[in-house]
Amino acid sequence: MLILKSLARSAEPMHGYGIYLYLKQISQDVIQVEEGSLYPALQRLALKGWVKAEWGQSENNRRARFYKLTPAGRKQLKQEFADFERVLEAIMRVMQTS
C-alpha cells in the first residue's frame, strides 16, 4: 500500500531507488526494512497488474526502470485506503471511549 501511495503521490513515474528515498523520507526512518525487499514487492504488484514498469532515463541520464500506477492500481489503492480508514476509525473510537 505504501508503494502504491508513493506512486500515486508523484505525478511522474518513479524508479526503485526513488521510491525507497521517498518512503524513507516520508516515514522519517520509522520504517526500517532491507532496502532490497522493495524489489520483490514491486514484482508482486506488477504481476497483479497494479503497476506498470518502463525503462527510461534517470536524472543523470542513466538507464533505469520506472514504475507507474495503472488504473487498476489506483482503484486498489482507493479500496485499501478505505479499508484502512475504517479500521483506523474503529480503533480511534475504541480508544476514545475508554
Binding site: 531507488y17 532496502e35 532490497g36 524489489y39 520483490p40 514484482q43 508482486r44 504481476l47 534517470s58 538507464r63
Partner: protein, 900 residues
C-alpha cells in the same frame, strides 16, 4: 476470475522473457546500489566502505532476486521438477544404494498391494451401484446343526409375501445362484456358475449395461417370454469365451439344452453380487424351472437371497425393527417343520444387513481371518522395509553432510533442503511402488491359486482393478513419509557452523536408536527363518507321506449325470458303461467310479457296530465310510488282504469291505470275513443297514495325508449314490486320461458337461492350499527378514565407520594393526547378532505356538533346523558386516587426519 486469468497470462508470458527479466532485475538493483553508494560517498565514507554499506543495507541480493522471480513462477511445480532431476542425478551416482532401496520397498509395497487387493475384492469393495449404502440383504438366521450361520436367504414364497408387505424398501429383488452347462470354444460342454435374479434385480441395484440391455421384469415370467429366454453375459465371460464380439447381442446360445438369446453384457466393474465367485452368466429366475425340470420356485423349500434398496432416510435398524414386527407370522407361515429342523424354526430371526459389497459368499467367511492376519504381517514387513531404507538414507545424509552445510551457508533455506531430501525419498518410493504394483498385478493370480478348495470346481475370482493403483500410490506417499522424514529433517537441520568446524561430535547420539533396530530385526529373522524351515520340512514330509494308494497316477473328474433321465439301476448301468468304455481306451490301465475321493479335507463318518458273537463292543465306533464301484481297489492300488472286491451285481448295502484298522477294531478276536456289521447312527446314516463283510483292504488315508488312516468301511455304489460320482482313471499321464474321458463322455453321455481334471496329487496339493500358502509366505518373509537385517546392519556399520573414520585413523596412526580394526568392527556386528539371537529365541518360542498346528512329523525344536537357522543368519550378518569392516581397515590414517 478475470483478474486471475490475466495474471495467469502474465505468468505464462514471463516464461518467454525469463532471461530479460533476470537481466533487467539485476540492472535495476545495480542502479539502486550505485545510487546508494554515491549517497554514502557524499556523506563522507571511503569508496570501499560506501559500496559495502550499500550492499549490506540492501540485503542478500541473490535471495531477493530469487524471491522476485518466484513471484512470477509456478513455484512449487518448478522446485519439484528441479528436485526431481537433482534426485535422479544423485541416485544415478549411487546405483547400489538406489537399487537396494527400490527393491526393498517394491517387495514391501507389492506384498501389501496384493494382499489388500484380495481383502478389498472379497470384503470391502462396494457394488458398482449408485448409493451402495442403501442396499440391504435379508436373511433368516438361526442355529443350525454343525453349520455356523450360513446365509442361505429366505424361502421364495416368504420373499414374495415380504415384498408386498414391507414398507422400508423402495423394492426388493431376489438372487439365486446355480450352475449351467455351456459349450466352450472347442465345443465341449462345461459347467459355469450362473446367477438367476428376479426381473427387477438390476433395476434395484442400478447397474447399467455395457452392451445391449440387462434383464427386466418382462423376461422373468414362467415359461419364458414369447421371444425365448434371454441371457446376460458378464464382461469377463464375454471377453474370454466370445473374444469380446461386439455383435454378440441377438446371438443364440445353447445353455443346458435350451436355446437362449444373448441380450446384453454387464459392465466390467460389476463382478456379480457374490464376491470372489466370478459369475459368468445371468439368466431369469424362472429359468431355474428349465434347469431343474419342475417349477421349483413354488416349492416350499426353495430359498432365494433378497437384496433391497432402502428408502432414503431409512436405516438398517429401522428396517430390522419393521421386520421384527411380523417376522413371527412369516416364519410360521413359510417354514415347514417337515423340511427344516424345528429347533431352527424356533430360534430363527429375519435380519436385514448391509449389502453394499454384495451378498456375503461362502468364501468370505472362510478367508476373512487368514487374510486379515496376512495383511497385518505384510504391514509389519513394510514398516521394517521403511526402517531399513530410512537407516540407509540416514547414512547417506551423514555422508553428504558437507554438501548440505555448504548449501546452507550459501543461503539455501532449511525447508528447501528438507524438501529436496523428501523428493529424493519420494522418487525411490515411487519407483518401488511402481515395481511393487506390477508385481502385485501379476502375482495375484499366483496367490489365488492357493485358495482353491478341493471340494469346489473353481478357485477364487478376484480381478485387480484401479484400487490397486490407489493403494500403491497411498503406500508410496506413506512410505516416503515413514522412511524419508527423519533423514530429511536431519538434512534440513544441518548447521553449517558446527559441521564445518568439527565432524566427530555429531552422530554419537543417533547411534543408540539405530543400534536397537538391528537386534530386533535379527530376532524377527530368527523366528521367521526357523518357522520357514519347520513349515517347509513339514510340507515335504506330508507330501511324501505314504497314503496307502497310488497318488501320482490317478486322474479324477466329477460326472454330472443327475439331470439325465436314467435313475437308480439305469444310472448305475450308465456309470458301468462309462467305466468299461474307459478301460477299453488306450492308456487307461484301470478305471472306477466312487462317491467320495480322498484328500479333500473332508470325509463321511458314522457309527457302526459288529453284530453276532465275539464282537468287540467298544464305545467309540465312529468310522469313515465310502461307496465305491467295482474296480475301485484295483484302480487305487489298495491291496485286498483277504476276500475280494465288489462285483458288478452288488448294488446295495448288504455287503461291505473293511480296512485293516476297522476290522481289528470291530472284530479283535477273529477274522472279519463273513461276519456282519450294522450301522447305528440314525442322524448321519439314516438308512440303517446290516451288511456282510466280504473283503479286507489295506489301510489308506482318507481326508488328508496329515491324519492317520481312519477305520473305514466301504459299501458298493447303490441306487442312492446319486449322479455326481467321481471317475478314477489310472494312466501314466493325466492328458491320456483326460482325452479318454472326453471320448467316452461324447459317446455315452454327450449332454453332460466336462469338469476339471485333476490328479489325486493335485487334489492333495489343493487341500494343502492354506498350508502351502503359509509356508510360502514364511519362506518369503524369512528371506526378506534376513535380507533386511543384513541391510540394516550394513547401513548401521557403514555410517558408524564413516563417523569414526578419524578415530580409526588415529588408532592406525598409533600402531593398531588393520586386522585389529577389522576385528573391532566385526565384534560389533557379532555383539548385535548375539543380542538378536537371544531375543529371537524368545520370539521363536511364541511363533512356534502359532504354527504348531501346521507342523507334521517334526519337533518344533528340531536341532538341525535351529542350527541351520543360526548358521545361516551368522553367515549373512558377517557378510553384511565385512564390507564396512574392510572399509574401516583400509582407512588411510594420513587422509583421515588431514580431513580433520
Amino acid at each position: 476470475m478475470l483478474n486471475q486469468l490475466t495474471q495467469l497470462c502474465r505468468r505464462l508470458l514471463f516464461y518467454f522473457r525469463r532471461d530479460r527479466f533476470d537481466r533487467e532485475l539485476e540492472e535495476e538493483m545495480k542502479f539502486h546500489l550505485e545510487k546508494k553508494a554515491e549517497t554514502n560517498l557524499t556523506a563522507g565514507m571511503s569508496p570501499d566502505e560506501a559500496h559495502y554499506t550499500a550492499r549490506r543495507q540492501f540485503g542478500n541480493q541473490t535471495l531477493l532476486r530469487e524471491k522476485s522471480r518466484e513471484i512470477w513462477e509456478f513455484r512449487s511445480l518448478e522446485t519439484f521438477w528441479q528436485d526431481f532431476r537433482y534426485s535422479l542425478r544423485m541416485l544415478r551416482k549411487s546405483p547400489i544404494f538406489c537399487l537396494t532401496a527400490v527393491l526393498t520397498l517394491a517387495v514391501g509395497i507389492g506384498a501389501n498391494t496384493a494382499i489388500f487387493t484380495l481383502l478389498h475384492g472379497l470384503f470391502l469393495r462396494d457394488l458398482p451401484a449408485p448409493r451402495p449404502a442403501e442396499l440391504a440383504r435379508i436373511n433368516l438366521i438361526g442355529p443350525l446343526p454343525r453349520l455356523e450361520s450360513v446365509e442361505a436367504g429366505i424361502p421364495w414364497r416368504m420373499y414374495q409375501q415380504l415384498r408386498l408387505q414391507q414398507q422400508s424398501f423402495t423394492d426388493l429383488s431376489a438372487w439365486v445362484n446355480s450352475r449351467v452347462n455351456i459349450r466352450d470354444g472347442e465345443g465341449v460342454l462345461r459347467m459355469y456358475p450362473s446367477i438367476h435374479p428376479t426381473g427387477n434385480a438390476f433395476e434395484v441395484l442400478g447397474v447399467k449395461p455395457y452392451l445391449g440391455r440387462l434383464l427386466t421384469s418382462s423376461d422373468d415370467v414362467r415359461g419364458g417370454p414369447s421371444m425365448g429366454w434371454p441371457a446376460v453375459l458378464s464382461h469377463g465371460f464375454w471377453y474370454e469365451r466370445f473374444g469380446g464380439d461386439p455383435q454378440i447381442i441377438g446371438k443364440q446360445l445353447e445353455i443346458s439344452n435350451t436355446i437362449v438369446t444373448v441380450v446384453g453384457v454387464t459392465p466390467p466393474e460389476f463382478q456379480g453380487v457374490l464376491p470372489g465367485e466370478g459369475t459368468k452368466i445371468y439368466l431369469p429366475l424362472q429359468f431355474l424351472a428349465v434347469l431343474i425340470g419342475k417349477n421349483i420356485p413354488d416349492s416350499p423349500g426353495f430359498f432365494c437371497r433378497p437384496i433391497g434398496r432402502l428408502k432414503s432416510g431409512i436405516s438398517l435398524t429401522q428396517a430390522n425393527a419393521e421386520l421384527s414386527v411380523y417376522q413371527a407370522a412369516l416364519i410360521r407361515e413359510f417354514l415347514s417343520p417337515d423340511q427344516i429342523p424345528p429347533s431352527f424354526i424356533e430360534k430363527a430371526k429375519l435380519t436385514v444387513s448391509s449389502a453394499r459389497n454384495g451378498l456375503g459368499s461362502f468364501l468370505v467367511k472362510q478367508y476373512w481371518r487368514p487374510l486379515i492376519l496376512m495383511q497385518c504381517l505384510v504391514a509389519v514387513v513394510l514398516l521394517l522395509c521403511c526402517v531399513n531404507v530410512g537407516g540407509l538414507m540416514m547414512s547417506t545424509v551423514y555422508a553428504r553432510r558437507h554438501e548440505f552445510a555448504v548449501r546452507t551457508a550459501m543461503g539455501a533455506g532449511r525447508w528447501r533442503l528438507t524438501r529436496q531430501y523428501l523428493t529424493e525419498s519420494f522418487v525411490i518410493a515411487a519407483a518401488g511402488a511402481t515395481l511393487g504394483a506390477a508385481a502385485a498385478w501379476y502375482g495375484i493370480r499366483l496367490l489365488l491359486a492357493f485358495f482353491i478348495d478341493p471340494n469346489r470346481q473353481e478357485g477364487l475370482f478376484i480381478r485387480p482393478d484401479n484400487t490397486v493403483l490407489l493403494i500403491t500410490s497411498i503406500s508410496a506417499v506413506l512410505t516416503t513419509l515413514l522412511f524419508g522424514a527423519a533423514p530429511a529433517w536431519h538434512a534440513g537441520r544441518s548447521d553449517p557452523g558446527t559441521l564445518l568446524k568439527s565432524r566427530t561430535a555429531l552422530g554419537a547420539r543417533k547411534r543408540i536408536l539405530g543400534r536397537a533396530f538391528v537386534p530386533i530385526q535379527v530376532a524377527l529373522s530368527v523366528a521367521l527363518v526357523a518357522s520357514a524351515g519347520l513349515l517347509s520340512q513339514s510340507l515335504i514330509r506330508i507330501r511324501t507321506e505314504q497314503v496307502g494308494f497310488d497318488i501320482g497316477h490317478i486322474t479324477i473328474t466329477c460326472s454330472q449325470f443327475y439331470n439325465l433321465p436314467q435313475k437308480g439301476d439305469a444310472l448305475l448301468d450308465l456309470y458301468q458303461r462309462m467305466v468299461d468304455r474307459l478301460e477299453q481306451l488306450p492308456g487307461i490301465q484301470s478305471a472306477a467310479a466312487t462317491w467320495y475321493t480322498p484328500m479333500t479335507n473332508s470325509m463321511a463318518t458314522a457309527v457302526f457296530q459288529a453284530t453276532g458273537n465275539g464282537a468287540g463292543s467298544r464305545e467309540d465306533s465312529r468310522m469313515a465310510w465310502n461307496e465305491v464301484g467295482p474296480g475301485y481297489f484295483r484302480t487305487m492300488q489298495i491291496r485286498i488282504l483277504a476276500g475280494r472286491e465288489f462285483e458288478r451285481n452288488e448294488r446295495d448295502r448288504s455287503v461291505c469291505i473293511l480296512n485293516k484298522s476297522a476290522a481289528s477294531h470291530l472284530f479283535p478276536q477273529q477274522a472279519a470275513i463273513g461276519e456282519y456289521v450294522r450301522s447305528n447312527d440314525p442322524q448321519q446314516f439314516p438308512q440303517e443297514a446290516t451288511c456282510r463283510v466280504i473283503g479286507l483292504a489295506e489301510d489308506a488315508k482318507y481326508a488328508s495325508a496329515r491324519e492317520q488312516a481312519p477305520r473305514t468301511i466301504y459299501f458298493p455304489l447303490n441306487g442312492r449314490s446319486g449322479g455326481a460320482l467321481v471317475f478314477l482313471m489310472r494312466s501314466d499321464y493325466e492328458a491320456t486320461a483326460a482325452a479318454a474321458y472326453r471320448r467316452a463322455l461324447a459317446e455315452i453321455a454327450p449332454t453332460t458337461p466336462l469338469l476339471r481334471f485333476a490328479t489325486l496329487q493335485q487334489q492333495m496339493d489343493d487341500s494343502l492350499g492354506q498350508q502351502r500358502l503359509i509356508t510360502l509366505m514364511s519362506q518369503l518373509f524369512g528371506g526378506l527378514a534376513l535380507f533386511l537385517s543384513a541391510l540394516g546392519l550394513y547401513g548401521l556399520l557403514s555410517s558408524s565407520v564413516a563417523q569414526r573414520t578419524s578415530e580409526i585413523g588415529v588408532r592406525i596412526a598409533l600402531g593398531a594393526r588393520r586386522g585389529a580394526v577389522l576385528r573391532m568392527i566385526l565384534y560389533e556386528a557379532l555383539r548385535l547378532l548375539a543380542a538378536g539371537v537371544l531375543l529371537g529365541s524368545i520370539a521363536l518360542l511364541l511363533t512356534v505356538r502359532l504354527i504348531q498346528g501346521q507342523l507334521y512329523g517334526i519337533s518344533p525344536f528340531d536341532p538341525t533346523i535351529l542350527f541351520a537357522t543360526v548358521g545361516l543368519l551368522g553367515c549373512v550378518i558377517l557378510m553384511a558386516a565385512f564390507i564396512p569392516a574392510l572399509r574401516a581397515a583400509a582407512v588411510d590414517p594420513i587422509q583421515a587426519l588431514r580431513l580433520e
